[in-house]
Every structure is written in C-alpha cells, then in structure tokens.
Symmetry: C2
DNA sequence: TTCATTCCTAACCGATCGGTTATCTAACTT
DNA sequence: AAGTTAGATAACCGATCGGTTAGGAATGAA
C-alpha cells in the first residue's frame, strides 16, 4: 500500500535530522555536503534523508556542476498544518471544555457506582 | 536515544489508522472495541496503535469496568502545529519570492554557461 | 460457580528504517 | 591525462514497525 501524501509529509518531518535539514534550507539553497556538515553522519545517510524529503515533495533539487543543490518546497506542509489545526481548534473550542465537563460527570458517576 | 516530544507526536500522527482514531475521538470518548470497529484489523493491532498515541500524550485512558475508554489529549499537537507553521510562514513570506528570484537567476546563469 | 466480554501481553513474522562501508559516476582542476 | 571533489548507489546490519495468533487477567452477567 502506497501511503497518502499527508502520511508521507508527516513521517518525513517526524525525524529530527530531516527537520534540521529543512530548517537549514530556510536560509537558502545548500549542497549535500553543506547540509551534511552539522551532523556526525556519513554523506550517504544524508542522501537517504534527502531522498525521503524529496519523495515527500518537501525539497527539490537542481544541478550546478557536480553539485545538486537542495531547496525548500514548503507546499506539502500546508496540508499537514491544515490537518493538525483541526485538533488545535478542538483544543480551544468550548466543545473541549464541554467534553471535560462530561468526562468529570462520567467519572463522578463511575465512582459513585463503584462505591 | 529516546526521541524528543515533537518527533513522538509527528510519527504518531504519521500513520493514517492513528489519525482516524484521533478523528473518531473528537466525537468523544470511546472504548477500544468501538475504536477498532471501523478497521479490518485485530484488536491487539489497535491496542498497539493506542499505546503509541498514549506514549505521545495524544490520548489518555480511563477505567470503567472492563472498559478502558480513550479520550483525546490535543495538547502535544500545539507544539507540532507551531513547528510546521514556521514553514507555512516561510512559504508566504517575501523571502520565498526572493529565493525564487535568486534561483531563476542562477538557473539562467547555468544555462548561459552550458551553451 | 461458570461463562462472556473487554482488553492486554507475549511471541512471532516480514517489511521498513536509519545507519554503515565500499564502490561508482560525473564534473571540475591541474 | 591524472587527480580531486560531490554525490549516488548497492549491499549489508541491527532496530523498529505494523500486523498476526494464542493465551491470560479483570470485570460483569447468568
């Protein structure tokens, strides 16, 4: 089963190394070697991370001599932020406080039944 | 290495089954069996997903007779949405358009050099 | 007491993940 | 032409993931 775009995006940014790479790319394009520099990790390992990011559409790559510079493509993150915000909304709505109330009533009820 | 909270949260919601469970919990508490019902998946599989969600702090669990109802805890998602929004911002800023300009200049330059 | 229901745990399985080393290609440099 | 640099690929490794089946514990019901 090929995963949906949202799952691709989220699992791509679930890794701290890949998030650090993305943050680095906010300062502008960078070569693979430049991206690898801050990490105690081999170049092939970074290449793999870049492939994951590229597969999720979070970066794109150019060509300039023997360099293949990476640049940020933030578009897929918009879908992700959209999904997550559904739940942030939930957290802030009165629905949440209502749920809290219901829950407290239920647990009080359960306690009453138990004793 | 134990992963940071943000990585925990993101990898928890990177799975479509777990996202569906969270969405179901927006309608209120539910038992494990209720949560499992929509899926063609064994109960233990759902239990594992619930453990992941609980480990990420995205759900909490009560006790009521032989049931262990789950309820949504959306708080960790706030950190996640905060991180992702950094990049949504990036996408909308003039910095992005500036990058696009620089890139176009560079690729024009590369093309010129190539010919 | 016995049975049913709910849920968890353990053991296992194949696939994927995140890293390594070794090797290769492509392009620049001398 | 020979050497260097940037990067990709392949093969491998241990750990984790996402699922399974089997079996056990806790609670409620007959």
């Amino acid at each position: 089963m090929q995963p949906d775009q949202l799952s691709l995006t989220l699992s791509a940014i679930a890794d701290p190394t890949r998030r650090a790479i993305l943050m680095r790319l906010m300062d502008g394009e960078a070569s693979v070697k430049e991206l690898a520099a801050p990490f105690e990790m081999s170049i092939p390992a970074i290449c793999k991370h870049l492939r994951v990011l590229e597969g999720a559409g979070l970066i794109s790559r150019g060509r300039s001599a023997q360099f293949r510079p990476c640049r940020l493509e933030a578009q897929p993150l918009r879908e992700a932020v959209g999904w997550i915000e559904e739940f942030s909304k939930f957290w802030d709505t009165s629905l949440n406080r209502l749920d809290g109330l219901l829950e407290r009533l239920q647990s009080a009820d359960a306690t009453a039944r138990k004793n």
